[in-house]
């Protein structure tokens, strides 16, 4: 049976970027959706190929590594690629209706570059290719933030750019050091020769700091709320759901492929502490915001903290518990992508109705747009980690892993984080139930806008019932070095 090539995942988006720069307005949209369909098919085809033969590689242009670019499809890469395809295509649909014609003209090329960069990061197993992907991703993301063109979001975009560049420099320094030591940048080759020496520790330290800065891990997070909160709605959704995951994904890859949990327990501990601080600080800040989109942006900070808890729970001795933590963390990442994108889109609709950014302006909206509030609520269920939802299942696995290893601190942190997130989500919810004097003067959003938001939220809930489909892609061999 013939399959789509892996390279399609990168070629199609690049083609999209080209097309959206060259074609007229109508053809731009038509071609974009044809390419989106092609990408979805490409993903599904790779999924079936993976079911058939397990992990597989492809050398672009038949130049094999280390000289050429090699792409690798394993369970983790597939999950992230499918996740980007789902979220990006729904966001594109939303953007088509939501954005003005001039905004849309600029949106498409950035959008396609973003998608190409994401896919290249999921599929690369070479540190330098990952760097190229990261740079392209940051530039596209900064461009998207600047789309809204008001003074504050331009300032936010600039700040974002500085943070991203700083992160890149850190990462690149680390990569150079590793290359000097080992003479290779391919991850599989590195993992064979890797040992924790002073120079490799410094290299990894630089790389991790750089990547964590791009992920907005506490305390390197301050660029995120203005950028995500100030961007146009479909952009906020893309940034929170996908872009920050890319740099985190590289950290996760480094950690598991180089088996860092065996090399250093204290590094995992440090990551866990940063994550815990992020959970508590992000939750607390979300609770104190007065603008709806800032609440959601700070909630992203807190959620990133949960992902960080994977690292202290990867244990060199207990393979079963490590596996649970890894599966739980990936499930959290996936659930967060779906739920957060759904939540941003739903919030964008609410703000569109009231015409203001303030939480107070939401009064009466639960009566006026019940479906949209329902979409927000479903996404909220997953973010809070209440059952049944992907967020709950992820949290459950993390808790199980922590309990099996008697690491009670993380259990306590997860529980406190859940209560905080329940508090800030229900706070938003209760604003929509308020009834105030004076008639409502709401604008009605287009039906597409509401249904796209709902579809992502519903997926985040369904993930709670169909988690096994995802977890089956992550066998224990993906985590524990054999």
């Amino acid at each position: 049976m013939a399959h789509f090539p892996i390279a399609g995942l990168i070629v199609f988006p690049l083609l999209g970027a080209l097309v959206s720069l060259a074609l007229s307005k109508r053809w731009r949209t038509v071609m974009s959706f044809i390419l989106i369909t092609a990408l979805l098919l490409n993903n599904v085809s790779l999924l079936f190929q993976f079911y058939g033969q397990g992990t597989f590689n492809e050398a672009m242009g038949n130049w094999s590594a280390p000289l050429g670019i090699e792409l690798r499809v394993d369970g983790l890469a597939l999950i992230f690629s499918l996740m980007s395809a789902l979220v990006a295509s729904v966001c594109a649909l939303y953007a088509c209706v939501y954005l003005s014609a001039t905004q849309l003209k600029l949106f498409w090329p950035f959008f396609w570059f973003l998608w190409a960069a994401l896919n290249s990061i999921w599929l690369s197993s070479d540190l330098f290719n990952l760097y190229v992907g990261l740079e392209l991703l940051s530039l596209a993301a900064v461009g998207l933030v600047a789309l809204s063109r008001d003074a504050t979001s331009l300032a936010a975009a600039l700040r974002y750019l500085f943070a991203a560049l700083l992160g890149s420099i850190g990462y690149l320094l680390g990569v150079a050091l590793l290359y000097a030591t080992y003479g290779t940048l391919s991850l599989p080759e590195l993992s064979q020769h890797f040992s924790l020496t002073l120079s490799s520790a410094v290299a990894l330290g630089f790389m991790c700091i750089g990547l964590l800065m791009k992920t907005a891990v506490f305390p390197m997070h301050s660029w995120l709320p203005p950028a995500h909160g100030g961007a146009l709605t479909p952009v906020s959704a893309l940034l929170s759901a996908l872009v920050i995951k890319a740099s985190f994904y590289i950290v996760l890859r480094l950690w598991t492929e180089l088996s860092l949990e065996i090399a250093s327990a204290s590094a995992g501990m440090l990551m866990g502490i940063l994550g815990s601080a992020a959970i508590l600080w992000g939750g607390w800040m979300a609770l104190n915001q007065t603008h709806l989109k800032l609440v959601i942006a700070y909630s992203t900070l807190a959620q990133v903290g949960y992902f960080m808890l994977i690292f202290p729970l990867l244990s060199p001795v207990d393979a079963h518990a490590s596996h649970l933590a890894f599966q739980g963390g990936v499930l959290m990442l996936l659930a967060h992508a779906l739920a957060k994108a759904g939540m941003f889109l739903a919030a964008g609709n609410l703000l569109f109705c009231s015409g203001q950014k303030d939480l107070k302006s939401l009064a009466g909206l639960s009566r006026y747009r019940p479906l949209n509030i329902f979409a927000f609520g479903l996404a909220g269920v997953s973010i809070m980690g209440l059952p049944p939802s992907g967020g709950f299942n992820g949290k459950w696995l993390l808790i199980q892993s922590a309990m099996l290893q008697s690491q009670w601190v993380w259990v306590a942190v997860i529980i406190m984080g859940s209560l905080l997130s329940a508090a800030y989500i229900f706070r938003v919810f209760s604003y929509t139930y308020r009834e105030v004097e004076g008639g409502d003067s709401f604008k009605q959003p287009a039906a597409v806008l509401e249904w796209t938001a709902l579809s992502l939220s519903v997926l985040s809930i369904l993930l709670g019932l169909a988690s096994m489909l995802v977890l089956d892609l992550l066998p224990i061999s993906a985590v524990v070095a054999q």
């Binding site: 599966q327 059952p387 696995l397 096994m468």
Partner: protein, 498 residues
Amino acid sequence: MSFFGLLPLWVLMTSFLAAIVIFMLPEERHGLRSTLNLVAAVVKIGLIILLIRLVAQQETPEVSLEILPGLSLVLRADALAMLFAGLSSILWLCTTLYAIGYLENSPNRSRFFGYFSLCVASTMGISLAGNLFTFLIFYELLTLSTYPLVVHRGTPQSLKAGRTYLAYTLSGGVVLLVGVALFYAFVGDLAFGQTSQMAEFTETSPIASAIIFLLLIGGMAVKAALFPFHGWLPTAMVAPAPVSALLHAVAVVKAGAFGIIRVIYDVFGIELAWQQGYVLPLSLLASFTILYGSWRALQQTDIKKRLAFSTVSQVSYIVLGVTLLGPIGTVGGLVHLLHQGLMKVTLFFCAGNYAETLGIHKIHELNGTGRRMPMTSAAFTLGALGMIGIPPVAGFISKWYLGTGALAAGMDWVIWVLIGSSLLNAAYFLPVLYRIWFLPQQGQWPHEAFTQWRDTAPLLLIPALITAALSVAAGLFAGSDLSPLSWARLIVIREYQP
């Protein structure tokens, strides 16, 4: 799988699908929505009857789905499940009728009925849950779906009540979550009723077992409104009357009580729980809550508040009953789950009728209502007499079994709790009845409506009369094969003779 095998799923789905369709319907389609609601409620009762027949023939239909490695969602119909599911399905029908009448001409009915059906779906899930994990899922879902109903009116007061409600129930939910997670991490994915592994675990690590028990019961105690976790219940009374009636008198508090029963009988096993000394503190706490709730009820001047504190007290009868070692006390506790539901729903319906028809919210305003609203007042009287425990209303049967059960278990002090509480019940209900029937009306009613009816609107009156009749019937025909008492006996026989 066959139709009968999937019955537990259908029972859940009737109200779940109803909820989804209702959310999709436009606000103005009132007739269609009401029809849909009633049809779903009737279909559900039909399915439950089918299930009860199956369960009576020693079958246990089960549906399960693996959602995480070693973790399944299980819906299983056993005898205990059917007790709670039967109660909820009958009361769902009555309350839906009542709510249609109560909310006539008020805004946001689509939202209300949608969440209402979702609540019933969660309650069904709680009753049919076949393991702790499934129970947890629906227990949290119940919290989520009741919140919009508590804040339904959107006033600052109801939003504040909503916050209190969430603070209690979500904290309880988190405690339960930790308990369940510990159970799965160290004991395993066990169906309700498989208590032997728990016994082994308790032998090897008694402290962990005690902690799990404490967390599980602590999580349930919030919804069951055991002292000192009862604070949310009186506050949540700002919700519309049908919500107070079905949810706060029946679904939510019962979910807590039902969970306690499951933990004691089907997770730990009553013998083990007694041997380890887990149960006695719980019976003491329940006894205290019984007296405390009654005492606080006596001090309330608001009708719904008095009923709320009465609920706090009455739900603890259930807990007290199931903590008595021996079959008789257990029968008393189980049967009270049903009896209290019928009687308390009647009382809340009547309180709602007084408020809607005459604008009466306070007890001192009730003077002479017996003449203006004789049928409602008659139903209220039956409910109140049942709560005090006067035969032949169902409450008498519960108290009789609780008392004899306590003697059989050698816990004579429980008799004094029952006597004290019954006296307090009489002290807070009899003056109300006296005002209704024997004192003359004082001036104008605060806010009179439905003047075209002799009593009140039929849709408000009929459900109250039905549930009042059922509470008397449950007492009068307690000896028949179809009574709640017989079913409770069946459950206990199966629990004690596996």
